[in-house]
Amino acid sequence: MTTLRNRALGPGIGLRAPHIAAFQALRPAVSFVEVHAEHHLGGGFMRRALRDIRRDYPISLHCVGLSIGSTEGVDENHLLRVRTLADEIDPFLISDHLSVSKLAGVYANDFIPIPYSRDALWLAARHIDRIQECLGRAILVENPSHYIAYAGVEMDEGEFLTTLAARTGCRILCDVNNIYVSARNLGRDAHAELAQFPAGAIGEIHVAGHATEEDGRLLIDTHDRPACNDVLALYATAKKRFVDVPSLFEWDNALPGLEVLLGEARRMEEYHEDVHGHA
């Protein structure tokens, strides 16, 4: 398994299809590249480009469709396709979300949170076990953005993630934008939420932008703009607490030029350095 060696190059970036050709031509100085595994499961340009980029950069495979929280179980065909891609690309990280993207057979193309109950914990743990068994490695599980709150939850997100990591050996992908969006939407304190995340289990940090609706009462996790200063402040706190954890800037919608995305990755690191000084 590959590891992240060029950490000094700062954060990685989420690389999406419209940026791939420019990225291949520019070969920018980033410590790693994260792609959505589902975009590269077929052949042709997308697969070939990933193989090419892999020659010079560590790759993180970020899955969007394993649907860890689905009651119908893990889609074995999909899991095997991810395994085949992982065997070929040898990523240093593989991750997905603590959510449901497949609802009773229908792929919702979203990360719908699950209720933080003992039943859901048992279900998610069983699915993570199966995924890790198939992939032959520990995966990372990302906290989703919350707009909804289930009635009758039995634990908070930090406790759920801590127990899940302890039970399965998985690590946590801490998305600070998602923590911020969720906290604001549910009337909680983002820094207090972050403090509940299990420091020893964090394997990656994500930063992204969000939209504001309803005069600031509702935040939407849009990944279509730079991160706001509140999210960068949360990132600086996370970066200080989760020492030596790779971090990444994600931009998925209304994509700007590649230079802008690279600039955002640099900006988040500069913000952290301004607050806490150079590592």
């Binding site: 589902e38 975009h39 499961l41 077929g42 052949g43 042709g44 340009f45 997308m46 697969r47 070939r48 969007v64 469709g65 394993l66 649907s67 689905s70 009651t71 119908e72 889609d75 999909h78 449901v100 993207s101 497949k102 609802l103 009773a104 057979g105 229908v106 792929y107 919702a108 193309n109 979203d110 719908i112 699950i114 209720p115 109950s117 039943d119 859901a120 279900l123 707009y147 909804i148 709150a149 289930y150 009635a151 009758g152 939407n185 549910l186 509702l218 939407i220």
Partner: protein, 241 residues
């Protein structure tokens, strides 16, 4: 107490429903905000379809495509986590969609666009793929001059198109990073299809020589080899052609 399975089934029904479904017993005062997930489902899947079917979007305009896509998604929602594999059923849906009945060619334009999309994403390897043709190769025939309609819709050719100028016979395949759409003669198309279905070059060549006396089999296979769309050297009478 509502089980996890019941929650997910009700959420599925809610994202597929045209009207808001009450989820108050599950989500309490935040139930209204499930609308964000409902909205995202239709808008993001519809956006994926728009990318796959740009000529269809152009022919019926974007707003109307939004209406068609909304109906399609609710009737045949995605089942796979790879959205690039979603949309194969849109052509058939368009063929039976009453509001598109005045554009009888629309379903065939969608078939062409799906073939282009599928060719672009097709697997590289031919492992487990027994066809004579590369996995990216699709054959497609229409009673309309669909290739012309597609080019005009994408602004690559001038209209108007004479709809009676069909039929058209096409081979779609990946070439480098692009997808190539090639017009075949009807005989060449039938020969290709026979190769797909039979797989025995000697049998197909023998039948073609009897059925189409003027058909140049050697030249046809030569073109296929030049296009690099074959998975095996085709041998006729013991010699590779």
């Amino acid at each position: 107490m509502v089980t996890l399975s019941e929650i997910q089934t009700r959420m599925r029904d809610a994202i597929l429903a045209r009207e808001e479904e009450p989820l108050d017993d599950i989500l309490g005062p935040t139930a209204k905000r499930f609308e964000i997930h409902r909205r995202h489902f239709i808008s993001s899947v519809s956006a994926a379809l728009e990318k796959t079917f740009p000529a269809v979007v152009s022919l019926i305009d974007r707003r109307f495509f939004g209406y068609v896509a909304d109906s399609f998604i609710r009737s045949k929602p995605p089942l796979s986590p790879c959205l690039s594999e979603y949309g194969a059923e849109l052509p058939g849906f368009l063929a039976g969609f009453p509001a598109c009945a005045n554009r009888p060619y629309l379903a065939d334009v969608a078939r062409l666009e799906w073939a282009i999309h599928a060719a672009y994403h097709a697997a590289d390897s031919s492992i487990g793929h027994e066809s004579i043709f590369d996995p990216s190769v699709h054959h497609f025939s229409s009673r309309f001059p669909v290739h012309q309609i597609w080019n005009v819709a994408l602004g690559r050719a001038e209209g108007p198109v004479d709809l009676s100028a069909g039929p058209s016979h096409l081979m779609i395949h990946r070439r480098g990073n692009d997808v190539s759409v090639e017009i075949l003669s009807e005989t060449e198309f039938r020969f290709h299809r026979a190769l797909v279905e039979c797989g025995d070059i000697a049998l197909v060549a023998h039948a073609a020589s009897e059925l189409y006396p003027g058909f140049d089999i050697g030249a046809t296979i030569g073109r296929l080899r030049k296009r690099n769309v074959l998975t095996q050297p085709l041998a006729l009478g013991g010699d590779a052609i």
